[in-house]
């Protein structure tokens, strides 16, 4: 299945993406993730100011069928959340890399942690490997 995987982003194996904007990063879920979840009907996001460790569950995305955790791809303090998503969770399906962003973080160790994230090619491979397991 061909999913959109922009080259300018970094990805976690748990299917979140990271975009570096100066000293902040923006976080969302990948096109593959939204496609796998199906219609998103509910989103839970953390409070601004909360400190997240890399790999920590920061929120929940729910489809009709199931609830899935979303994990912080890097450590840092939450500086903003996408409030619009709470009322229009379907935006995660329609525009996962744009209007469907989930939160912004001020990273605490971007240089160290960034290496653990995947680039677009490595993430696409990861998705293919995971899909072939099914």
């Amino acid at each position: 299945m061909a999913n959109n995987t922009p080259d300018n982003l970094r990805y976690a194996k748990t299917h979140e993406w990271v975009r570096v904007d100066g000293d902040e990063v923006t976080v969302g879920i990948s096109d593959y993730a939204q496609e796998s979840l199906g219609d998103v009907v509910f989103v839970e996001l953390p409070s601004v100011g909360r400190t997240l460790a890399m790999g920590e569950a920061f929120g929940v995305v729910e489809s009709v069928k199931a609830a899935s955790d979303v994990y912080a791809p890097v450590s840092g303090e939450v500086t903003a959340i996408n409030e619009a998503l709470l009322d229009a969770p379907e935006t995660l399906n329609s525009d996962p890399y744009g209007e469907g962003w989930m939160l912004k973080l001020r990273p605490s160790d971007l240089a160290g942690e960034q290496e653990k994230l995947l680039d677009a090619a490595a993430y696409s491979q990861h998705v293919e490997d995971e899909a072939s397991k099914h």
């Binding site: 199906g38 219609d39 509910f42 729910e62 199931a66």
Partner: protein, 365 residues
């Protein structure tokens, strides 16, 4: 994992598949919500070949079924079908089943995950009954054609007068001129509709031809995701959720399927006692007041914080547009209007007990 004869078709149509009861089944083709609405507003075609089918025939077929089932099987005349339960001696539920009375046999349809258990249960209790019990699940494909347009679509592809088939009626005939099929006015969506049984060898042809025949009416393939939301709204029980070996029929609101006066059957003594003593917990409908979706297994607590029950199924109900749930709760919390909390990931979220079914079934009777 087992696959139905339609598996390759589902994948080719872009279905996402999931494991269900040991089967690799399509959960959705285009989207659960879209497929749900298509079934309520037009028609949906479901591959439910994972369901089990067991033939019961012989001179003692009726007394045998009377002994293992809670329903009064004598009231199911030839050409009719009805819902029933198999119960354990303690009143817990082995499975919920549908009994179709055909010429010379009863066809018993059971849940995919319970086929082996049910078949063994029947064998174990046949005793001196003169019956032949045959598991034909692996040779049988089963489809559900459901929704307000189902009748018109089916009428187009068979010589049978399906408009004359009653609610819960069942008949043997042909589809597309020469495909032998059992056709019943039954289903699991709360809509008018039919369930069709054909041999595996005819499955692909019937599936493709039905979709073609119903195209102009908006017929579309529907996966297990919408099958679940469609059965949830009219409060049709799902084994492992609203019913199980730990839940008795009276708790699940299925007392109407238990005919204590019909004579002896497995579980009767316990069920009689439960009925007299009353139940300590009951299945209720919940509407979320706070923000969140209740899911199976989430605890339900009084507003004072005492845990008094558990969610059996919950989701954003597509037709109602609300976050709803079914829950087994202590009887004193079961009154409509009662406020309680669902513990969602440990946090109490307010809900209120509401009337069920959430959606009034639209059967053609």
């Amino acid at each position: 994992m087992k696959r139905t004869p339609l598996y390759d078709r589902h994948v080719a149509m872009g279905a996402k598949t999931v494991e269900f009861g040991g089967w690799d089944m399509p959960v959705q083709y285009t989207g659960i919500i879209e497929e749900h609405h298509a079934t309520r507003n037009a028609a949906g075609l479901f591959d439910i070949s994972h369901m089990g089918q067991i033939n019961v025939r012989g001179p003692d077929a009726l007394p045998f079924l009377q002994y293992i089932a809670t329903q009064d099987v004598a009231t199911i005349a030839e050409g009719l079908a009805n819902y029933s339960l198999l119960c354990y001696p303690d009143g817990g539920i082995v499975d919920d089943i549908f009994i179709y009375h055909l010429p010379g046999r009863y066809l018993v349809v059971v849940n995919a995950s319970n086929v082996d258990k049910d078949f063994a249960w029947m064998q174990e209790h046949r005793q001196s009954f003169n019956v032949e019990i045959e598991n034909i699940s692996d040779a049988t494909a089963m489809f559900a054609l459901q929704g307000p347009k189902a009748e018109a679509i089916l009428d187009r592809v068979t010589d049978l007068d399906v408009t004359a088939l009653w609610f819960h009626g069942v008949v043997e005939g042909f589809l597309f001129g020469d495909v032998p099929a059992i056709i019943a006015r039954t289903g699991y969506t709360g809509e008018d509709g039919f369930e069709l049984f054909v041999e595996n060898a005819s499955a692909t042809r019937v599936w493709d031809s039905l979709l073609e025949a119903g195209k102009a009416d908006g017929l579309r393939p529907v996966g297990l995701g919408a099958r679940d939301s469609l059965r949830f709204e009219p409060k049709l029980a799902l084994y492992g959720h609203e019913i199980s070996d730990q839940i008795n029929p009276y708790e699940a609101g299925l007392g109407w399927v238990v005919k204590l006066e019909k004579g002896d059957f497995i579980g009767r003594e316990a069920l009689q006692r439960i009925k007299v003593e009353g139940v300590r917990r009951k299945l209720v409908g919940l509407e979320m007041v706070g923000r969140g979706i209740a899911r199976q297994g989430y605890p339900v607590a009084s507003v004072e914080g005492e845990t008094l029950g558990e969610v059996t199924s919950g989701m954003p109900a597509p037709t109602l547009g609300k976050n709803l749930a079914l829950a087994l709760v202590r009887t004193d919390l079961a009154k409509i209007g009662t406020e309680l909390d669902v513990l969602i990931r440990g946090k109490p979220v307010r809900a209120v007990v509401v009337k069920t079914p959430f959606y009034q079934s639209r059967y053609k009777k």
